[in-house]
Symmetry: C2
Subunit: 257 residues, 2 copies
Amino acid sequence: MKRPLILVTNDDGVTAPGIQSLVKMCQTIGEVIIVAPDSPQSGMGHAISISGPIRLRRSAAFSDLEAYECSGTPVDCVKLAKSVVLKGRTPDFCVSGINHGSNASINIIYSGTMSAAMEASLEGIPSIGFSLLDFSYSANFMQYQTHVLNLVNYGLEHGLKEGNLLNVNIPNIPAEEIKGIKICRQAEARWEEDYVEAEDPRGQKYYWLTGRFLDQDHDQDTDLWALENGYISVVPSMHDLTNYPAKEALIDMEKLM
Amino acid sequence: MKRPLILVTNDDGVTAPGIQSLVKMCQTIGEVIIVAPDSPQSGMGHAISISGPIRLRRSAAFSDLEAYECSGTPVDCVKLAKSVVLKGRTPDFCVSGINHGSNASINIIYSGTMSAAMEASLEGIPSIGFSLLDFSYSANFMQYQTHVLNLVNYGLEHGLKEGNLLNVNIPNIPAEEIKGIKICRQAEARWEEDYVEAEDPRGQKYYWLTGRFLDQDHDQDTDLWALENGYISVVPSMHDLTNYPAKEALIDMEKLM
């Protein structure tokens, strides 16, 4: 059987340890092509570069591999991969990450990692965003290789169903202590922001975002519950934001004129 | 009855005609506070500024009103409005826009206008993003005042149901020709990108995103159908991206270890 073509991207940038590890893992099962941001792009959500030019260069971050770095956002990377680098050839799979830090729950909407994966899924490419709940630069990503490849291989073999997109988070515990995989829903949570207010060297005021993550969901079918209890969380995700129950409940609005 | 406090924001920037019109409309029904980007932020999706400082200044773009402009993204504007400008006081309603151009269908995920509205809805603030299918700077937004205020007043009176978020698009036809309001689902569509490749004045190659919008949905319950047929489209939207049907279909993944 022909080895699958796997597109690898991320939001922490082409030199981040997380993508280095993910590429190593994927090389064992397929042909790998890398298009990733040339600088960190965390928190970029589904941003795209429309008002300015984007640079795309061969990257030396991965010896012997076809790798590119791009000045744009994670979503730009996927678009460029498909239409410029691969000239319309469609990858068999896309993986994004491994992100340094959680993309569970509401973090999915702020996450460049997950937005890149979603962009690939929009193009019909089965796609998984991986995140490890460890911000440390020296985190040991490689220990989770079996778990990561099990999920990718499953997706390659069976597809990922309509939606074509998984949000996978790995708890910050040694691989041998992981209890298993849980298919979850996205937990209800939000960030309570708390801006640091300070003055720059020229005496001008600035604000810098910080915040506290508030888990507002105490059910046991969520990604947050799975992660807190030693499981890898897998949330099948999608780009249709329609709130179908509200659609019925608001039908009276049609009488407004 | 006390006049409601309405937070107004957008992604086209504080001086865009669309937000100027939206503010004028909202002043007729409530107390208005404005926090909007100091420059255009189209296509920013749900990006937030986490790796650098944000500036927030009083804006002269709206005489006599409490208005601020911010160097960050549309989502930053909403976060700053709530925690810095209003110091935790919660607006009764948030409106974002009026966007110059469509945010129907898949455009919602790229849209700064809709991401700002979604951020407000996450905070429990009923929120509507408005867009007009007209990119022209001189578009006549004010003609749609009755339609816009009907929707805002409905939301103020009845709430917007769980989700607290509407994606409203107005077709580019004279107000008197609008046939009515349709509560819709988000149409399936995608952008087929087509990068312009060129050289800058220093001989370095760059890419610039352009593309074609591909409607892949031919049902009559979608926002694209409504707009093409002379209706204002209203899509109740939400931040839970869980693909519930796929969640059942992928349960076998739990057996992977």
